[in-house]
C-alpha cells in the first residue's frame, strides 16, 4: 500500500513538472488540461478517492 502511494506521489511530481513547463512555454491549453486531469485523478486517489473535499483547494 505504501509502495502504491509512493508510486503515485512520484508520478504526481513528474506530471506537475511537465505541466509547469507546458504552461510556461505554450500557455494553458488542451495538453496542459489533460495533464492537470491526470494530476487531479492521482490526488483523489491519495485522498482515498474521496471527491467531496472542500472547494477551497480547487483554485
Amino acid at each position: 500500500m505504501k509502495d502504491l502511494e509512493e508510486q503515485l506521489k512520484g508520478a504526481l511530481q513528474r506530471l506537475e513538472t511537465s505541466t509547469k513547463k507546458i504552461v510556461e512555454t505554450r500557455g494553458y491549453g488542451k495538453d496542459a488540461a489533460r495533464l492537470r486531469m491526470l494530476i487531479e485523478i492521482i490526488k483523489e486517489q491519495l485522498k482515498n478517492e474521496d471527491p467531496r473535499h472542500p472547494a477551497r483547494p480547487v483554485r
Binding site: 508510486q7 508520478a11 486531469m37 490526488k43 471527491p51 483554485r59
Partner: protein, 590 residues
Amino acid sequence: MKILVIQLARFGDIYLTWPTLRALHRTYPEAEIHFLVREKFNFATDGLQNVQVHALPTPKILGPMLNDKPDLNASEAELTDWLKTLDVGWDAILNLSFSPFSSFLTDFLSRENTLVKGYTRHGDGFLNIPDDASAYFYAQVGIGRDNRFHLADVFAMIADVELQKTDWGFEGTRESIELEQPYVVVHLGASQAEKRYPIKYFRKVLRELSSRRVYLVGSKDEKTLAESFADLSHVKSLVGETSLNQLFSVIESADLVIGADSAPVHIAAHTNTKVLNLSFSTVNFWETGPISDRSVVVHADQPEDLSPELVVNTARAMLSSQTLPKEAISLSENSGPRFKSEASFCWKVIQALYTQADYPTPIDVATISGVKRLLEVSDMALEQLAILKQDLGSKTALQILTAIDDALPQIAAAAPELGPVIRWFETERLRIPPQDVVHTFKRTHELFQNLQTIAQVLVQDAEPNFDELQRQGLERLREIETELPNCALSFRLYQTAKAEPMLQRLLNHLTFFDSNGLHHLGSTKVQSGQQVIQDWSRSYGDYREILNQLIAAFQKQDYVYVADLIEYEISECLSHWRTQLVKFDTSMLA
C-alpha cells in the same frame, strides 16, 4: 439537444442527483441526457431510466503508472482515448461534482456554444464558476458553513430545474425477498468511521426494539458489524446478502429505516420510507440527510454523545405516530430548507445576500465590531481604486489593496457571523474572469461598492446586546476560575499531560474576550459606562503582556513560571475583569 450531467462524488450524491436528471428529462423531453459517474459507483445508476450512463475508468487510466516500470505516457493515452468518447459536442454540461478534476474535465469537453453550469476553468486554467447556484455552493455549503438547503435542491438549482415529488422514485425492477412484516431496517455502517454509531449503543437500541422484527442491511465489508447481534432473536442480518434491487424492495416495505448518513438513507428517499437519521457533526443533516416524508433526525457532535435512549424513544414515537422527544428534529413540510432550523443570524444574512430578503440586525458585539471594520475596509478599498484609476502604477494603492485582501479573513475569524458576507465577496471576486484591466477594475469596484452597501445597512441597524455579553463573560470567568488552581498545580507538579488540555481550555475561554471585542468597548456609544470602559481597556493591556509571558514560558518548558503566572498574574487579572464586568453591567442597567 445533448446534455451531460457530471456527478463524480460517491453514490449518496448519485442518488441525490436522480431527481435532477428526471426533472431535466421532464423539462427537455426531446433531449439526450447523459450521466457521468465513477466506475466504482456505477451500480448506483441502476433503476434510472431515460439516461445514458458513462463511467470514469480510473483504474484503467492509472494502471500504466502503477506498473513496475511506470508509464505516464500510456496513462495519458488512456485518458485521451476516454476523453475522445465523451468529446462529442455537448449543448449543455452540468457539473454537479465540485471537484478539481471535474472542473478541468468540464472545461475540456466544452465548446464555444456549450452552456456550462458548475465548476469549470477559465482560459488561463484558473477556477471558473459560471453560474450563481454553483457560486452559492462554493461560498456557503459544507461543514462550518451556514447553508440550509439540501444538496438535492442545490443540484436542481445548478441545473435550473424545479423538482417535483414524482422526481423521487425507483424505476428499476424490484426483486422482493420474503421477510416477516412489519419490520424495521437498520444500517449499522456508514461511508466513514466518524459517521458510524457505536455498535454497543446499537445493541442497546435494538434490544429495546424487540417488539418488531429488525433486519440489518449493509455491504459485504460490514458483515462483521452484524455478528454482534447474533444473540438477539428478533434481529436478522441481510448484510452483504442483498442485491441493490433487493435492497430497494427491503427498504420500500419497511416501517422505518434507522441509519447514519449513508446509502440506505438515500435509497429510502426514493421509496419514501420514513427514516430515523443518526447524524453527527461530520455532516450537515440539512444538506445530505433524509428526504422521505415524516423523517426525523437525532443529532450529536460525536457518535458517543448520542444517547441510545433518545434513539429508542424517537424510533418508538415514529413507529406509533406519537409525540417525538423534544430533541428530535423533524422534516419541514414548508418549502425552502427541508429541516426546521433556528433562524440564525448567518442564515438570515445568506437569505439577504442571495434572495434580496432584509438583512438582520446585528446584536453581537464582535459582529458589530466586524461590521465597522468591514465598512472601513470597503471605504479604504474604494479610495485606493480611485487612486489606481488615475495612476495604474501606484504601488502604495496596490499594497493597501493586498493588505485589504488579507484583512477580510481576519474579520471573518474575529466575527464569525460575518463569514457568509466575506465568503460571498471572495467568491464573487474569484468569478471575475481573466480579461483586460479596465473590465477587471470595473468589476472589482462594483464588488467593493456592494460590500460597502452591505456594511452600511448592517451598521445602521446594529444594536449591541450588552446584557447577553455580560452574561456570557461572567459564565466564562466562572469556568476559568474553577479550573485555574488545578491547572497551576498540575504545571507545578510537571503533570504536563494533565495540565496542557486545561491550559488550552483556559486560552479558549480567554479568546472569547478577544473575539467578542471586549477591549474595543471604548469605541461604542455607551456614555453611562465610559469610566468602566477605560478601566477595562487598561486591564486588557496588562493581560496581553501577561499572556505573552505565559506563552513564552510554556514554549521554554519553564512550567514553574507558567504555574506562577496562572496562579498569581492571570488570576488577579481575571478578578479585576470580574469586578469591571459586574460594574459595567450595573452602570448599563442604571
